[in-house]
Symmetry: C2
Subunit: 365 residues, 2 copies
């Protein structure tokens, strides 16, 4: 699909012009994949304001063939280190005093020093986040990939439950592997991040990694997992109970579910991200558990599993249509257990489009 | 094991003194794990030349409990962003004009700008690679973890072959999953990197990712895979033939095996890394395939799957006892197939200790 990448580069060039740069050096690999489709582990891209004719893609000898196939529509250079090679090229090809922007939130101080040495009469200019801001709003190709990734996770969870994969006696690690294998069975290229499977008191640890702890009757089991499809990540959390829930478990679950519904309802174009966080957080604070909701409400999701925007108290900015975000409130009672419920959603006019479809009723496994 | 971490911090302090710094801000998470044992996804560490009493560890609220358990032996601060918090603390606690080193190959230009704003009367000084250079030489705790990780990979491959997992009709992706699951069965915490399974002509692509391509009789199948144990990575490549090898396959395999043996023989304390590369490369160049060996001979392996030293033509430095490195020559014939053979080794006085034990005879699956 070279057209979609050309379209994205065109949109980026407008931002490069607005930032008063003559060219932007893109070095983050996710950003390069977004703009070119290249999936290798080393590359750099120079996006020139004049257009693709003056833009250059660079990778190293391991990826010569792959670059021909994936980036047929740009001039290609094979050299290593690739970013430095493009700075040196720009120094000879751009006119003296041209301004070359670079991704200053990704480029290290050491690499910047090397760029400066190679830049000659070019001016290097900090230009953080230009591609990331474009990536916040997804095109339909991206949303299709996210939808497929979310569906793989949904089907994996349904399978796991149907085959009795969540039962007393299994370890957290066994459940995690089972879930991950089922995602691949349902079309995932891989897992989006190491799955969280947290049973009993471990469910009160927000980012618990699976251990050999054995699931027991009466436990909360928190499952936070996702699939990758074509580089796009899904992210979903469900919390279940093994056997009949106790009253405190029902109450805690109902509280988090209400907060999650309130947060989802606030996911609309034009809303401040901090207001979306507040919509869910207020429900939990009013119930007296504000201190036990120790993280932000959600985050953007796409080529990175965590990307802009950040739906948090301290977040800045507003939602736009076609952003993909998570909504994931949680309440964690140390030593007892915790509940988190998380969906991946696409911001649409009116109510958001739900990509993770698994039931949010309290499931008794 | 707080003792081992205290020992490592003591060794680091000597380097911090040598670099004429009053303190070093460590922000790379692998380096923090090496120095403290902390395994969370956000942290910073200030190592003061005066000792652990004046050093500080910082993470955020998600990891309060985990930090208490994993880093009991250092003063802990809970704040976010953690690195910036430690710069601000240093600005108040260190005397005016003190020099604070930072990991300039990891710190971005944007973060550096924020550090500068927070540093007050402190001097910030680029201090790249101090911890990485320590990490090149492994202690016995690390070598034990590497040994276990390599054993998991060896057993997984043996299992795969024994159960007929490598046969015509299977896809590259199926083989990759099977191999990865078997590593976990044999004690891996996870996979060291996305496995490479490359069949037939795909074996000529050095970093091929598994596809739905079907394995066929007569194919070379290149398997490059590894396990993670306690954060330590194994890395091994084996190339096999499905059915009776053709003469060109035997010849190519014998050539790469000879180069691999020559490279391994050069892995000795005191050898220049470029000379180790040359020992293997010369064998391939003399056979007329120099252009088809498109990458370096090997790399250090530990908390990162690729770390210093780099065993390459352009590499600088010499080997020391207890470094862990790979030796992995390859020859790739575009459109036909390729062979790579890779071991993970520990540099010892005399011949190196082999950690990956799978046979290097041409295996016919």
């Amino acid at each position: 699909m070279p057209e979609i990448h050309a379209t994205r580069r065109r949109a980026l060039r407008e931002r490069v012009v607005d930032a008063e740069l003559d060219a932007l050096l893109v070095t983050d690999l996710r950003n390069i994949r977004y703009l070119t489709g290249f999936t290798g582990s080393n590359a750099a891209l120079l996006v020139h304001v004049d257009g693709d004719e003056r833009s250059v893609f660079c990778t190293d000898g391991r990826y010569t063939t792959q670059a021909e196939a994936q980036v047929p529509d740009l001039r290609r250079v094979i050299e290593r280190p690739s970013a430095l090679a493009l700075v040196a090229q720009a120094a000879t090809h751009l006119s003296r005093g041209s301004v070359l922007g670079f991704e200053s939130q990704h480029v290290s101080v050491e690499d910047h020093a090397a760029f400066t040495d190679a830049a000659g009469e070019l001016l290097l200019s900090r230009a953080p986040g230009l591609v990331e801001r474009l990536r916040e709003v997804k095109d339909e190709v991206e949303i299709a990939a996210l939808r497929t990734a979310c569906a793989a996770a949904d089907r994996a969870l349904a399978d796991l439950l149907e085959h009795g994969g969540l039962r007393p006696g299994r370890t957290e690690r066994e459940v995690a592997r089972d879930l991950e294998n089922r995602m691949v069975d349902h079309g995932a290229d891989g897992v989006a991040f190491p799955s969280i499977v947290a049973a009993g008191a471990n469910s009160a640890i927000p980012h618990h990694r699976p251990t050999d702890a054995v699931l027991a009757a009466g436990d909360f089991v928190k499952l936070d997992f996702g699939a990758v499809v074509d580089g796009y990540h899904s992210d979903m959390t469900r919390t279940l109970v093994l056997g009949e829930p106790a009253q405190w478990q029902r109450d805690l679950y109902a509280l988090v579910a209400a907060a999650q519904a309130a947060g989802t309802d606030a996911v609309r174009p034009g809303w401040e991200v901090s207001a979306v966080d507040a919509a869910a957080r207020d429900v939990i604070v009013e119930a007296g558990y504000g201190e036990q909701f120790t993280h932000g409400l959600g985050h953007g999701v796409g080529l990175d599993v965590h990307e802009a925007p950040s739906l948090a108290k301290t977040g800045v900015g507003t939602l736009s249509a076609c952003m993909a975000v998570t909504v994931e409130p949680g309440v964690y009672l140390a030593g007892r257990g915790g509940v988190r419920i998380e969906d991946t959603l696409v911001v649409r006019e009116g109510t958001p489009e739900l990509l993770t479809m698994s039931t949010k009723e309290l499931v008794v496994a």
